[in-house]
Every structure is written in C-alpha cells, then in structure tokens.
Symmetry: C2
Subunit: 381 residues, 2 copies
Amino acid sequence: MAPAKLLVDIHTHVYLPRYASMLRTRTSVPKIMSSLIDGKEQDRLLILDHEPSGGRPVGPQYWSRDEKIRFMDQHGISVSVVSTANPWLDFLPASQAQQLALELNADLEQYCSTGPTVTDSSIKRLYGFGLLPLVPEITTESLLDAVNQISESPHLKGLILGTRGLGKGLDDEALDPVWAAIEAAGLVAFLHPHYGVDVKAWGDKDNGHVLPLALGFPFETTTAATRLILSGVFDRFPNLRLLLAHSGGALPQLSSRLASCIDHDPVVASRLKHDARFYLGKLYLDAVAYGSEELGFVSEVLSRADRYETGNSSAVSPDRKIGSKRVLFGTDHPFFPPLKSTEKWQSVVDNLEAIDSVQGWTEEEKDGVRGANALSLFNIS
Amino acid sequence: MAPAKLLVDIHTHVYLPRYASMLRTRTSVPKIMSSLIDGKEQDRLLILDHEPSGGRPVGPQYWSRDEKIRFMDQHGISVSVVSTANPWLDFLPASQAQQLALELNADLEQYCSTGPTVTDSSIKRLYGFGLLPLVPEITTESLLDAVNQISESPHLKGLILGTRGLGKGLDDEALDPVWAAIEAAGLVAFLHPHYGVDVKAWGDKDNGHVLPLALGFPFETTTAATRLILSGVFDRFPNLRLLLAHSGGALPQLSSRLASCIDHDPVVASRLKHDARFYLGKLYLDAVAYGSEELGFVSEVLSRADRYETGNSSAVSPDRKIGSKRVLFGTDHPFFPPLKSTEKWQSVVDNLEAIDSVQGWTEEEKDGVRGANALSLFNIS
C-alpha cells in the first residue's frame, strides 16, 4: 500500500493507564469516579466544571491500546498520532506535573514503539504527541527538558498543549524559550481547548454538553491562537509548526474581522510584521469540522495567506488546493461515541464524507488530507 | 435609477440626541464624558466595561442626521436602515426603559420621515430599526406595546436587540409572545452583540479593543443565535426574520460541529424538528465580514440549509447564489472610522470590495447584497 493512501488520524486521544490511575485518586475535577448505575459499577469521567449529567461514561477505550487499534481497524485508519486528552497536567502542582510529564512521555513512546506496524511497511501504526508540564511556577529548564525528551523519542512527533501556559496564556513571553526549542526540534505543537468560556454565557437552560463543546471549545482555541498572533510569536518563530484543533475553531471565519480591528488600532498594528491573515497560512488545522463547506472554506483561508504578506500586492483568488496541504484528518476518538452501537462511528463517517465532498479538491488533495499531509508533516516513512 | 442598483446600508448606528443626552448624565458605563485632551474639550464614549484607552472619541457622527447623510453621500450609499448602537436600553430600570423606548422610536420615525428622499423616487434615504425595553422586570404588555408602535411607524422596519432579553438571554420562553408579535408584524429583528465574553479570556496583554471587538462580539452573537436554535424558537416561529450582525459571527463555521454535538445528545436532539444547519437558512446576515472568502462561505452555509430539513435526503452541492439573497451590505458606521482622514472609510471600502470579489456570485447576486435584498426584506419601494 503506498503511503499516500494511508488514512492517518492526528486527533485521537488517550488517558494512559498511569494518567487514568492518577484521575481515580482525585476528589475534585478532573477525576474518574465509580458509580453504581442500574446495579452495575460504572466509571464516569468529569473533566469540566459544571459538567451536566454527572460526567461521561469511560472505559477501556480511554486507556487500552488494543481498543485504540480495534477502533482504527473498524474505520480503516492505518496510523494514529495519539495525544493525552485534556486537561493534561494543567491542574497539578509544578513538581508533580514535571515528574508525570516525563513518565507519561516515556509511557507514550513505549505505547507507540511496542505497538504494531503497518502491513508491508516500516511505518508504525501508533505515534504520539508528548506533554509539557505547562503549569504555574514550573521552571523553563523543566519545560525544555520535556521538549528535549520528546524530540529524542523516535515515536513522539510533537506535543499537545492547552491554552493556559504558565497561568497567563500562551502569549506570555516567558514561553519564548519553549517556542524556540519546539521550533528548533521541528516538533508540531497541537493546540487543544479545555476551558471554553465562562459558563454564564450558556444561560440556565439544560442543553447538555452542546454549548461548551460546540461553541466553548472553538472559542477558546480561537482566542488562544489570536493572542499568539497578536503577541508576535509567529514573527519571532516563523518556522513554528502549530496545529489547531477543530479546524481552528472560529479563527478562519473571523480572520478578516481580526485584520480590520488590528488595522484600526495603530499600537497593535505596529507590533506585527504582516496582516493577521498572513499568519493563518502558518497554521495546520485538523479536519474535525463535520462539514465539507467548512473544510473547503478553511483551506481557502489558508490558501489566501500569502496575499497578505507585507509587500505582496497579489489579489488572485485563492486556490483551495494550496491550503489543503495543511489540513489533516482526525477523529477526536474516544469522544463523540455513537449513541447506538453501529459498525462505524457517525462522527468519523461525517468527517470522512466531508473530506470526500469538498469542492475544489481533487483526489490528490483528499488523499493528502486523509493521510499524506500527516506523513509529510510528521516525517513518518 | 432602478432600485436594484441602490446601495443600502442595513448596519449603521446612531445615538439619537435624546439618547446621547441621557448618556451624558450618567456616572457609570455606558456614558459620554468630556475630557480635556491637549487643551481641547473632547467627548469620549465608554460603552464596555474595562474599555482601554479611556473610551473612544465621539462627536456629531453619532447623533447628527446631517453627518449620517454626509457619510452616505461620501460612500455612494442611497439608503440606510439606522439603528441605535449598543447597549440600547439594557442598563436602565424598567420604567425608564419603557418610556425611553417609546420616545426613541418616535424620534427615530421622525428622523427618517422628515429626512431626504432618493432622487427621482418615493424611497426615503433613511429607515430605522426601533427599540424594545428589553430589561428585567418589564411587562410583556410593555414589550408588545413597543412592537406595536414600531409596526405602526411607517419608516421603522424592524427592531434591534441585544442578547440579554429579560436578563436570562433570548432563549427565555417569557419572550415567546414577543417573537410571536414580531413574526406577525413582519418586522426584522436585528440581533447585535454588546457584552462579548468574560474579559479574563483576553489575558493581561494590552491589545487595545482588538480581542473584544474581533472575537468577543462574534462569540456573543454566535452564542445567542445558537441558544435560540436550541430553544426551538425557529420551530415555534418559522417565519421569524432574524438578522445577525457581523455575518453571524462564528455560527456558520461552527454549525456542522453544532449539529454533530446535538446529534450526540439525544435529549437536545429530540427537542428540535431539524438538523441545526436547517435553521441557518432562516437567518439573514449582514455582509460586515471584511473578506470575500468569508462572504462566499456564509452564503454557502445559508444555501445548504434545505439539505438539512428533516425528510430531505438531497446531497447536491449548495449554490451560493441562493444564500446570497439573505446577505445584506452594512458599514457599522460610525464605528471603525479610519485612522487618517481619507476620502472613504477603509472598513467600508473593504466590505464593498469583498462583495465584489465573491466567487460564485454574478453581478445579480452582488447587486442583491449591495441593496436589492434589503429593499425586498424591508419592503421598501
């Protein structure tokens, strides 16, 4: 099978056994707790404050590698680049976060390296995003140690991170040495939401998890990525490879408004080398958007980025094919399981159908989004 | 001049003299205050909490009809449908809000009716969105009185409203009689943001107004419109005409994710007659998005709505032309003034150029977005 035809899932989560054990010992969110439901012991996971319906049921799909492989086989996924699910280590004191990051990175390297290989190929079926101990009061040295550990782990291809940084967000200059190290190591930083926005925004009505997941998560990613742009991180680290969850949230649709707002604020505008839309061309986006119009649009927004480089006066219509090279299939497994047991998960089917239906992408771009772009980005061969 | 060729601005604000006077008497936000700047008296407007740089300079462009007409002439705008800028009456006690709504609606009717007419036409150059006293403790009767007043004012074509409703948001069933009255009167409800999201999301860095305006406003609109969808308002009032500011914020880009999240929550899903994306086809969006790719995309999302009607299994690619009929030019005047005095405002030029460059729209659709859609929606002839 030619690598270009492999289906590669770059947004797929795990709570490694060590992490799940730690969650079981906790008395506050995030935690895993056992409840008796209809007389049966049932593990439930609470990861968000104010989570409705007592959290979500969890089981081996969250920690078992066999279950991950089974899910991959069921959906024709050859390779997964696995990441710890939110909220990572955000809630831990610095010393514990530091130790657990190193242990979990070692665990994940082993999870991948001792796992199966793609048939007739040297490609493994599992690669990983490591973790940094991004918590308040951590030392820069500890962060750089973790970056270094990840870069020396052959099956770890990047790292996943939330939006809090050291407590002040990702636009904190104290993180500059970390961005520099990530850039130098050629690692991919996968930016993923957890906190959403203040729950008061959702009102009193019981809408289950819909509002925090459908809106809160993308708002958080959008805000974090925008703050990174405004802080000049992409000017200082032009080769930083940042992957945004959920197709960049709302950033693509709001990027021209963002550019206009910056244009009208001379202090902010003077700090940046380029129009805000230029920086979107530096991003990578997963294809977890559930709709072909959305995927076509985000690839168009990535494609137009060069038009907004300072000094470039081109006004040609963007070719979606260019931006598609930075869009990568993902499932968000084991979240969004189907309500009924079906052969395939609807959320995965929807995302694959969306890729297949994008106007302006040929089979080459679709194959890219399904797998070839990921193999290239993560240098997997 | 044929009406189809008129440029119509449906997103353009005013603080009527009566409203500006009230703001001058206030000691807390929102307020207009005079400061000495470089030895000159300068009015400054504070409308948001924590507003940076002591608010923004205001002058006659906010209250003078002559200034509005001058701005329109400068940009070739034939007709404006003017609305009071945020935060409307939200901050007032019920009795004051009630009285001021009626007075301001009468003022705005006069502002329009005594204004100029389009050359060689019976069309006025100014129409308006009235106000409702949407504040806690207001009676339904007071709200219906205001709807009735607006519907009987020949030059008021709708009403503008924020997202708070009676204090619990717009998904409050107590508003059902108001939606029913708006629907029955054929008025357009223009949903506009003011509150954004909790300022903690923006972090400590000084980014001026950029984050609350570029992200907070669209997030708020997105949340309010989503909560309306989830509450079943569009099922109960299928002919309600809701216009969303700033091209619907982030709702178009997040609508397939929203549909997926609803699909995975049987309680929420069972409340709604259709896939969430169906309801987007009931919306009207302004064209205040500053980019042609954004406009093309939002028109595509409106176009695909019928595909998501329960019972419809069509999978044809959406034709952007259909959705374009629900997209309408706006300027957001007098906000986003140019930094340098130029002949035309860059924000307006950008939005006109965006309309002119949308792929998949012919001149007919562009003329529609520039004016014909508005004349039709507001029944102006």
